[in-house]
């Protein structure tokens, strides 16, 4: 019983670790707005941010995180 419980705890911890790795995001540097996770539902926020800065030069950079 104890062994089984230990396995379950380890399994839960492993799943939590995987979930954190996959979905736990990093934090942006102090002073920057939080990281925005784009989805189809909020993609317009990117456009709004782009247009909100019109009148100033804008740069879009597309990078891979690794």
């Amino acid at each position: 019983m104890t062994a089984r419980r230990t396995v379950l705890v380890l399994l839960a911890a492993a799943l939590a670790g995987i979930a954190w790795y996959l979905y736990g995001g990093g934090q942006t540097p102090a002073g920057q707005p939080p990281l925005v996770r784009l989805t189809a539902a909020n993609f317009h926020e990117l456009r709004l941010a782009f247009d909100a800065a019109s009148g100033a030069p804008r740069v879009i950079v597309m990078l891979s995180p690794t």
Binding site: T28, A56, V61, L63
Partner: protein
Amino acid sequence: MQGASAVARLLHTSKDPNIRVLVNWEPVIATDLRSPSSRVLARISDLRARQYWDRERLLSKAMGEKDRATIVWDVIKVYDPAARWNDRLPEPVFSDRPVVRVIDEAARALSFDSGEVTRRTWSVATRAGGGAGWQPTRSLTSCPTKLTDDKLHVPGVMRAGRYMRSTHVTLHLFDTRAVLRSHVVRLTGIFIQAV
């Protein structure tokens, strides 16, 4: 990661407080399983930056991604202050890759010399449909461009306040600061002379 560091250097060099840099992180290679870590995000710490995690590569698709071969990444695009994102993204005044190699050109496109962006103004000769021959245009601003080999295609140019559509112009580029004749105006370090 070199691209992110290059962008950080660009921002460090820039004196323009109004520049906005939208950093779009997206999964491209097999190891891109998760959103960028704090350490990765810290590479671009400038307060003029906004950072996004685009797991579905929505922006890349908006820019034309159709399959893996056409993923838009490791790219830097510079947009004119007047550009607005209406139904579709506007044409950038500069776009190239990989970021680490083209960062100096991107900085020149932003024209940091005076601390402000100098609107790109140049004069060219255009040849619209109908074979009317080359006609000198007035000053052009915010002209969307696409550089292919040694030809600069101008899909639409501003002339007398109106856009001429489907106009293609073949131009020679001169990498010099010498001001040439009236049809050649400085363009952030390069010059364009009509053919």
